[in-house]
């Protein structure tokens, strides 16, 4: 069952442009110049219940604008949005009871209050009884391991602890969909990993649909089964994670240390990425030249050390961004 349905969604921002320097500032007062920027340009997609979907793209691609339209923060110029059967533009309040949001760059918690007091306040916002809120806080603090710092003011928590509290605050009302906009921004690798585990656990235990945007490829690789890539306001790819990797499986990267230099200039499908003395890093398009041919060309007796790997997912996505 689809819980999010977006059809031909478009959003344009009018941005004031100014010529250089002080004279530019003066002329902007009398003759302002406006530029229209299509942040989201005719996009359509659907999200199924219980899915963890990655909605990714380079900076300024339109990710946050899309999330903001899906959650009722921004009004679209045109197109249709349906989230859990609700139109976010017309029924923002009704939708708010059903969704949770975590913006990694914008805090929702009050910094001077303890996490516990914040959760109690969020309970009141969602019209949950005191008793129910208490029960929910207990349940979530166990799941997210908050017991040690739940009574400490949020401003005194580490970034990792704070993000955990932000996620818990967004789950107080048992939302059916959770929108996570760069939830692991600024976190160290260990904390990132623990946040990812918690997101997975939550998705499994409560069947919460998760709509995630992140610049961290590991977030996407470890959490999501489906990836939607947006660039310049348009969807340039919507596919499963396995398909995404499979399509780029025909490219391999070989890092090799040689006794003597090898000349690849006459071989098709080989791209030399880096060459330094007897060390070489090459990318091979196996559609044009298979690995055996390349290895024969190098000559196994000439090899001092070798490493063959797939292209990192990060590189795959960067290539898609560039093409888009």
């Amino acid at each position: 069952m689809s819980v999010i349905s977006v059809k031909h969604l478009t959003k344009t921002f009018k941005i004031k442009e100014k010529k250089k320097g002080f004279s530019g500032s003066i002329s902007a007062i009398f003759k302002p110049i406006y530029k229209e920027v299509k942040a989201v340009n005719d996009i359509s997609f659907e999200v199924e219940e219980g899915e963890i979907i990655a909605f990714i793209g380079p900076n300024g691609a339109g990710k946050s604008t899309t999330i903001k339209m899906l959650t009722g923060i921004l009004y679209p110029d045109s197109g249709e949005i349906n989230v859990l059967g609700i139109n976010p533009t017309r029924e923002r309040k009704k939708l708010a009871y059903e969704i949770g949001t975590v913006f990694g760059q914008k805090e929702q918690l009050w910094m001077h209050l303890t996490a516990y007091d914040n959760f109690k306040f969020f309970g009141a916002i969602y019209d949950i009884t005191e008793k129910e809120t208490e029960k929910r806080i207990e349940e979530l603090s166990k799941l997210f391991d908050l017991e040690k710092f739940i009574n400490i003011p949020v401003r005194n928590l580490s970034l990792g602890q704070r993000i955990r509290c932000e996620i818990v605050a967004s789950l107080i009302h048992k939302p059916k969909i959770l929108f996570l906009d760069e939830p692991t921004i600024g976190l160290d690798p260990v904390v990132k990993e623990s946040i990812r585990k918690l997101i997975k656990k939550m998705n499994k235990e409560y069947r919460t649909t998760i709509f995630l945007t992140s610049h961290d490829i590991s977030d996407i690789e470890k959490l999501c089964k489906r990836v939607v890539i947006i660039n310049d306001g348009k969807i340039v790819m919507d596919d499963s994670m396995s398909n995404l990797k499979y399509h780029y499986m025909d490219k391999k990267v070989i890092e090799v240390k040689l006794n003597t230099k090898v000349n690849f200039s006459n071989t098709k499908g080989i791209n030399i990425l880096k060459e330094k003395e007897n060390r070489l890093r090459i990318e091979i398009d196996t559609k044009q030249t298979d690995l055996t041919t390349v290895l024969k060309l190098i000559n196994p007796e000439n090899i001092m050390d070798i490493n063959i790997s797939n292209i990192p997912l990060e590189e795959i996505i960067a290539q898609i961004y560039r093409k888009g």
């Binding site: 946050s64 923060i73 805090e107 306040f121």
Partner: protein, 264 residues
């Protein structure tokens, strides 16, 4: 509908309660802020004592009426700034995309954002208003009327602050316009209306509604006037409705931002 209003009221009261809890963490600063604001306001009364020692009547007001005017101006300002502090920085909330966290909550956006913070020193203004009321000679009816007009006055000046702040939806930064407008209201409300003549007087009783927040209440507390009380109630309700309509119209133009923001 009724349940919705009840829930909204519950959240608004809780927001103010949590605001107080936040401020009370710094106990000394909290108490000092309140006390110093009372002392600051008291210093202005000294000027009026000097003036009234030279003259019996200023702009048709007796010294007792001046006390009442100061009392109502202080408590109106105090009520509004204590509960609706963020109405006075609405332009910043709009232009810097700080409304996002309120828009994802199932509550009234305007009420949620303007009550999200309290101004402790305004509690000093509020208390000062009641202290001056006691000095000017308190009766039960005067106390009730004073409290009632402090609330209607606070609603009116908050409405004006929201309307001026909402201009940011259309013109970008409107903080300077809002500050000028808000200060204009406060400055005029501490002088007797009789000293203003002609166009200035008309403006104060209409466009800059100081009449509704300060002059009429003093007239009514001096000699009860039902018609004038009714006018204040009707205009307060209409102005509030207009404020909500304008704010929500503007909200359609809200463009958010990607600034790093923390909620203090």
């Amino acid at each position: 509908m009724l349940q919705g209003v009840k829930n909204q009221l519950n959240v608004t009261i809780k927001t103010i309660k949590y605001g107080l809890m936040r401020e009370m963490i710094n106990k000394t600063s909290f108490i000092m802020n309140v006390i110093f604001m009372i002392l600051n306001n008291a210093s202005f009364i000294i000027q009026w004592i000097v003036i009234y020692s030279l003259k019996e009547d200023v702009g048709g007001y007796t010294f007792n009426q001046i006390l009442l005017l100061w009392a109502i101006a202080a408590s109106t300002y105090g009520f509004s700034h204590f509960i609706f502090k963020k109405a006075y920085s609405l332009s910043d909330l709009i232009t810097n995309g700080k409304l996002d966290s309120f828009l994802v909550q199932p509550k009234n956006v305007l009420l949620a954002c303007i009550t999200t913070d309290i101004e402790v020193s305004a509690l000093g203004d509020l208390l000062y208003g009641y202290i001056v009321l006691i000095i000017s000679g308190i009766t039960v009816s005067k106390f009730i009327l004073f409290t009632f007009f402090s609330i209607t006055g606070a609603i009116i000046i908050t409405d004006i602050a929201v309307l001026l702040g909402s201009l940011s939806f259309w013109i970008g930064r409107s903080d300077m316009i809002a500050d000028t407008g808000n200060n204009l209201m406060i400055n005029f409300s501490t002088y007797p209306d009789g000293i203003f003549k002609g166009a200035a007087r008309i403006l104060l009783l209409t466009v800059i509604p100081v009449g509704l927040t300060a002059y009429f209440p003093v007239w009514i507390m001096t000699k009860f006037n039902f018609k004038l009380t009714f006018v204040i109630i009707v205009i307060t309700v209409i102005l509030t409705l207009v404020t909500f309509v304008i704010f929500y119209r503007g909200l359609r133009r809200y463009s958010s931002s990607n600034l790093m923001i923390s909620k203090i």
